[in-house]
């Protein structure tokens, strides 16, 4: 198995446990500052939402024919973020790729919180938020059922499933590590962790079922990752709006999702690693590999963008052509370019190893990736602004309410992530140990 993974053998199992448990030490001022910042943003969002429920969606910048706007943009953005986590934790697990171990816990947490954020939007964005539960097939005195032919119903199920599965996957993976923390902890913390560790003792019998189950969960989660964003993409692709009605949407969205997800991983992990002093566990090796993944997906996006324009031109369909012309040169040109430049072109910088292994450059790029991917969704939704009937054309035009909700979503996400990072091992102790050979009586021995 891979050797370069960790700077073993200088590290022993004891070191790993010690270092990871050390990350749970009482937090510094800086941490609380961040936390309060996040909570503050979240409150802004909450207040905005209250006003919207009271006054109506009109507070936001909806401008028919653009009946969806920043809310759906942000929804798709967060769903996308969610994808990197499960990809790294599940798919790479199945491929037995060595570099996932050190990073998957953090990314998985990110996934869960991102999906938690996204899951709020279907409720926020509907006109009568207080009856959102009509979207669920529950027996009621009206004898009415929801419409399973609607992509929005698919969404409800896809997001619901994805949230449930990725959450249980995260918790499941945490069990042995929580047990390890438990055995180091003292006082009330010990009691808490003992409860959370669900009686984990690491007996041969437990491990036997556990590792099997983990394998199957991974096997189920893997296709789920691909399905969820495909379903989200069909919200658009299954309609007839020029600019939405594309067959490449599913792969295009999935690639985009992973691209944005890994981008967010960089944004979160680079500072986190420094703050929690995990440099010798999360190394250039990991960033290099994730950067390659980014490069790969970014290139797929490049292709997809190009293909969209090609199809628009080649199809000879005047509606498509107008839409894509206006994407680049219409009133919303600025959005169009702030999607294409970071996603298609900036990602290409990652061909250079120097950039892949330079954390500063990676961090900067990752920020642009986040912005670019948010705008990708914005631009796609903007296709509504100029569809079939020219008389009805108009531009979308966000207001403070849109920005309030957007800020709130970041606050909500950040809040959860910060809380997690300080209270649970962000690095998978047990899996790292897997890569550190245990001491042997007889020299040489097993390898």
């Amino acid at each position: 198995m891979a050797v370069a993974v960790h700077d073993a053998p200088t590290q022993t199992h004891a070191d790993v446990t010690r270092d990871v448990v050390a990350t749970l030490a009482p937090a510094t001022k800086g941490y609380y500052l961040l936390l309060f910042g996040a909570v503050g943003l979240f409150l802004i969002g909450a207040i905005t939402l209250l006003l919207i429920v009271k006054e109506g969606l009109g507070l936001a910048g909806y401008q028919p024919p653009v009946f969806w706007s920043v809310f759906i943009t942000t929804f798709v953005f967060w769903v996308g973020i969610g994808h990197a986590g499960t990809l790294i934790s599940a798919i790479l697990y199945l491929f037995r790729s060595p570099w996932r171990t050190a990073v998957y816990r953090a990314t998985e947490a990110m996934t869960v919180f991102a999906v938690m954020t996204a899951a709020l939007f279907p409720i926020i964005h509907i006109g009568r938020q207080w009856i959102f539960y009509w979207l669920l097939p529950y027996p009621n005195q009206r004898y009415l059922w929801p419409n399973f032919k609607s992509p929005l119903m698919w969404d409800v199920f896809a997001i619901g499933t994805y949230f449930t599965v990725s959450t249980s996957f995260l918790i499941f993976g945490l069990i042995p590590d929580v047990a390890a923390v438990r055995d180091k902890a003292t006082g009330w913390r010990k009691t808490v962790y003992s409860l959370l560790s669900l009686n984990w003792q690491g007996t041969d019998n437990q491990w036997r079922h556990y590792s099997r189950a983990y394998l199957y969960l991974a096997a189920l989660a893997a296709p789920l990752v691909l399905s969820v964003h495909s379903v989200v993409s069909w919200d658009f692709a299954s309609s007839l709006i020029p600019g939405w009605h594309g067959t490449i949407f599913a792969p295009y969205f999935v690639a985009g999702a992973i691209y944005s997800g890994v981008g967010m991983v960089f944004t979160l992990l680079i500072p986190l690693r420094k703050y929690l002093k995990l440099e010798h566990m999360i190394t250039d090796y990991h960033f290099d590999n994730m950067a390659k993944l980014t490069l790969f997906t970014g290139t797929i996006l490049f292709y997809a963008y190009g293909m969209e324009y090609f199809v628009a031109w080649y199809s000879g369909n005047t509606f498509e052509q107008t839409t894509f012309f206006r994407r680049a040169f219409g009133p919303g040109w600025w959005a169009g370019w702030s999607m294409i430049i970071p996603n298609a072109f900036l990602s290409q910088l990652l061909w250079f190893r120097k950039i892949r292994t330079n954390l500063t450059s990676l961090f900067v790029i990752s920020i642009f990736i986040n912005i670019g991917m948010w705008f990708e969704r914005y631009v796609i939704i903007q296709s509504l602004a100029n569809d079939y009937v020219p008389y009805a054309w108009d531009q979308m035009n966000p207001t403070w309410a849109d920005w309030g909700i957007l800020a709130g979503s970041f606050g909500w996400f950040g809040m959860w992530f910060l809380l997690f990072a300080k209270n649970f091992p962000v690095v998978a102790i047990q899996e790292i140990k897997e890569f550190i050979p245990m001491p042997r009586k007889r020299a040489g021995g097993h390898h």
């Binding site: 207080w130 669920l136 097939p137 529950y138 005195q141 009206r142 004898y143």
Partner: protein, 205 residues
């Protein structure tokens, strides 16, 4: 009932997602067991026509009305048909509340058999002389987004039409709400049994 079992199946399948929501929102919505609409026969428990001490009808079932109008006497004892007073029900979507004139049509002459009735009837006459319409307390009400064409139901369901929804008022000294007519499931049950339309825009537009 078939509907019920069907619902249970649906429920079982959906409950995985629905359970939480249901528990959270059944309070908020008008959830009720669709399979058990209050049967019209419930009216059978109504007391027969008897004299009621003047004024206090509060102990009777149903909200207290400004004048104790005895449906059990008018419709029951004297067999006056519903549409004698609610005469627009046959050709209008609205049954109409009989005008005071309609009441006075008879009660100019009829003063009431006993003191308690006389007392109530005198209330009516006072109101008429004062040209003050009586403010009846409303009992049956369908939401504004529902259009219920009375004429069509009266035509379609024949003589017993009224009782189907309003219960056997002929045996009610004071009318109470026998069925929650504002409950869609209840309407649908009837439409299913009679194999008539379930098209949404039949009622909602």
């Amino acid at each position: 009932m078939m509907r019920k079992s069907a619902l249970l199946v649906g429920g079982a399948v959906a409950s995985g997602l629905a359970a939480a929501v249901l528990s959270g929102f059944t309070g908020a919505t008008t959830q009720q067991d669709p399979a058990a609409p209050a049967a019209p026969s419930a009216a059978a428990s109504a007391p027969p026509a008897y004299t009621i001490a003047a004024g206090d009808s509060a102990f009777l079932k149903g909200p207290k009305q400004p004048i104790l109008f005895r449906h059990d006497i008018h419709a029951g004892q004297y067999q006056i048909t519903c549409q004698y007073c609610h005469y627009t029900a046959g050709y209008s979507s609205e049954p109409g509340i009989p005008s005071m004139q309609t009441c006075m049509g008879c009660h100019l002459i009829i003063a009431g058999a006993d003191s308690s009735n006389q007392k109530e009837i005198s209330k009516l006459r006072d109101a008429w002389n004062a040209k003050q319409p009586v403010e009846w307390v409303r009992i049956h009400y369908v939401a504004r987004h529902v259009h219920f064409p009375h004429q069509r139901h009266v035509k379609g369901m024949g003589p017993n039409a009224c009782a189907t929804c309003h219960g056997d008022v002929a045996r009610m000294p004071q009318v109470w709400e026998v069925n929650d007519v504002n409950n869609m499931g209840w309407c649908i049950n009837c439409h299913l049994e009679r194999k008539v339309t379930r098209d949404c825009t039949a009622c909602h537009y």
